[in-house]
């Protein structure tokens, strides 16, 4: 059985590698068919034609396209995306600098989605067709239909009126020194260095952006959990347990929950793509200064090398997240890993 699970994982990894390969080819072609000249962009309009030509050769833009693609790909595998056309610094360094901010936001958001969405879905299933269920379904509908940028702005507006002391922009209070921790995640670094003021401030700053980002996911997870719970409640073994007089609480938490968390986990993986996308908007509204803000900046400035790196890194995160979720689902549901493994 062990080997089949490994095989299942291996298949997924090959599939995900294919995803990244196609993504890299698409973004490369896109970046090379543009009318603008990257070398000209990097040098500015004042540079002479010879200077631009020299840079073109230096950047390898004169080589045939397949050679260029191979070079881009082997660089990407080693984590090297060239230098930014705007700042002249290595693209990877710039991304590494801003990545922890987004990582922290995304992790808290995912936690929020599960911690809020799953219990609400269970509650709706328990009181199905009652008023609790109706209210929750309406709320999830609103969560799914509201674009993230609207939620972000409305939350900001609400906080500005009712919580006038609540910090709304950035990651941390200005007068606090950021601990120089190993992870770059303010909550963890703050805890490690024992600076609880940092942790508190970071949590306060995280609250609204994470909520804005999590709302649509909460709605989705709630909906899926509800229908999975209702469906699984009808299963024979659950009915048998109930007829033996096993308390509802035990049935729900020991048997139903595990069975019903596969579907929401799958949704979480798909939801991750829109989560990355929405992070661009939410970071902009809350001046977060993370990966997405950086990506948006590079896109606006036409910094091609940085744009390519941003797309590849986002794709990588999506793939990694789905791999983790696949492993989790495999752990939860043995049937799945056996079936897929064969």
């Amino acid at each position: 059985m062990h080997s089949t699970f490994l095989e299942f994982l291996l298949r997924r990894i090959v599939g995900f590698a294919a995803v990244l390969l196609v993504l890299s080819l698409m973004i490369f072609l896109l970046a090379r068919v543009v009318p603008g000249d990257p070398a000209r962009m990097a040098m500015g309009p004042a540079a002479s034609e010879e200077q631009v030509q020299d840079l073109r050769e230096e950047m390898g833009l004169e080589d045939p396209l397949p050679t260029q693609y191979i070079r881009f790909l082997s660089g990407a595998v080693h984590g090297d995306f060239g230098t930014s056309l705007i700042s002249g610094r290595p693209v990877t360094d710039e991304i590494m600098r801003v990545l922890p901010a987004t990582l922290e936001l995304v992790l808290v958001t995912l936690l929020l989605m599960v911690v809020v969405g799953l219990p609400l879905g269970m509650m709706a299933a328990r009181h199905r067709n009652g008023w609790v269920d109706t209210v929750l379904r309406l709320l999830s509908m609103v969560g799914v239909t509201m674009p993230a940028f609207l939620v972000a702005i409305l939350l900001q507006l609400f906080a500005a009126y009712y919580l006038s002391d609540w910090p709304l922009l950035g990651r941390i209070d200005r007068d606090l020194t950021v601990p120089d921790g190993p992870t770059g995640l303010l909550i963890i670094d703050g805890l490690l260095s024992g600076q609880f003021a940092v942790v508190l401030s970071a949590l306060q700053h995280l609250a609204f952006p994470a909520l804005a980002l999590a709302l649509s996911g909460i709605g989705q997870i709630m909906r899926i959990t509800r229908s999975a719970m209702i469906e699984n409640l009808r299963r024979d073994h659950v009915q048998t347990l109930r007829s033996f007089g096993v308390p509802d609480r035990v049935v729900t938490f020991r048997y139903l929950l595990k069975l019903s968390s596969v579907a929401p986990l799958t949704i979480l993986g798909l939801e991750f793509a829109s989560l990355i996308g929405n992070a661009f908007v939410v970071e902009m509204v809350f001046v977060w200064g993370g990966f997405a803000s950086h990506g948006l900046e590079s896109i606006m400035q036409n910094d091609l090398n940085a744009v390519m790196a941003v797309v590849m890194v986002s794709g990588m995160f999506f793939v990694l997240a789905n791999l983790v979720i696949d492993i989790a689902i495999g752990a939860l549901d043995p049937r799945l890993r056996l079936k897929e493994g064969r």
């Binding site: 793509a273 990355i276 929405n278 661009f280 990506g295 896109i299």
Partner: protein
């Protein structure tokens, strides 16, 4: 022969309703779907007759009315005025045009392409199936907003490019959905019968299998319309949408945001506009899903 001459109506013939009529009855009995349909129809009417409905039709363009700069909602400007004194309500009504144009542009390409690929994969099987489903799964994994942003930045940020970027990834969902239905339909006896009767592949694909996919396609397309509107608004909120002065819901929100929290009406009305349109399509899609009783 004799049946035509002796045409006595059966006295208590059971009332047989056509499938279409049954579906309509089920749709009509669903208040949520009716509300959704009403909302969608109002959005469509607003877009179609914007110049006649909007109180200030010329405010869709480059009009400057400094006397009414940031005017609060009043009987003159129901939803207030923006930073150059244009009537916000009029601009929201015109803004639906851009949103719906995007929907038609994106789904007009994505739905036929996705459906055709899904049909072929489900019907032909074998290598065709492997290639198409493999490619679809790879494309499904690309975060659409990031791709749209990249396309928008590499080509110039215009409505057409936004459409191309979204359509490039949107077909995948339809391909996957139609593939699932087509594969199960292709195994049915009537398809086998058609093949034995000498029907061409084209005939089987379009006349035998496609009609069975129409229900899922229409439900998915309706739900998609909401997502495309939302997506387009997000893109133009980030500055990758239509060029000013064309009124567009997303960029109106972005404009209004600079004057929060005092001039809240600059954000609230376009925000409600987006919400109204997306909610309408979502409710209608849910209603259609119940009506056709399909899983999307």
């Amino acid at each position: 022969m004799s049946a035509t001459s002796v045409s006595i109506p059966e006295p208590d013939a059971p009332v047989i309703l056509s499938a279409r009529r049954m579906a309509w009855l089920r749709f009509r009995a669903n208040p949520v779907a009716l509300i959704g349909a009403f909302m969608v129809i109002t959005v469509l009417l607003c877009a179609a007759f914007a110049p006649w409905i909007a109180p200030y039709p010329d405010h869709a363009g480059n009009v400057i009315d400094f006397a009414n700069r940031h005017a609060a909602p009043s009987s003159e400007h129901w939803a207030g005025a923006d930073k150059v004194g244009r009537d916000i309500l009029s601009r929201v009504i015109f803004g639906f045009r851009v949103s719906l144009l995007l929907v038609v542009g994106v789904l007009g390409v994505a739905v036929p392409v996705g459906a055709a690929l899904g049909l072929c994969a489900g019907y032909f099987g074998g290598r065709t199936e492997f290639l198409i489903t493999g490619f679809t799964n790879v494309m499904l994994a690309i975060p659409p907003l990031i791709m749209a942003l990249a396309v928008g930045s590499v080509l110039s940020p215009t409505l057409i490019n936004a459409m191309i970027a979204i359509a490039m990834l949107w077909w995948t969902w339809h391909a996957r959905l139609v593939y699932r239905v087509a594969k199960s339909v292709a195994a049915e006896d009537f398809v086998e019968a058609a093949r034995l009767a000498g029907a061409t592949h084209w005939h089987i694909l379009t006349k035998e299998i496609l009609p069975n996919c129409i229900a899922v396609i229409s439900v998915k397309t309706t739900l998609d319309a909401a997502f495309v509107i939302l997506f387009g608004a997000t893109l133009s909120f980030l500055g990758l949408g239509v060029r000013p002065p064309t009124p567009d819901l997303g960029s109106m929100v972005a404009d209004g945001r600079q004057f929060l929290p005092e001039m809240w009406w600059g954000v609230l009305t376009p925000a409600l506009g987006i919400f109204y349109a997306t909610l309408g399509f979502n409710l209608l899609g849910d209603g259609l899903r119940d009506m056709f009783d399909v899983e999307v």
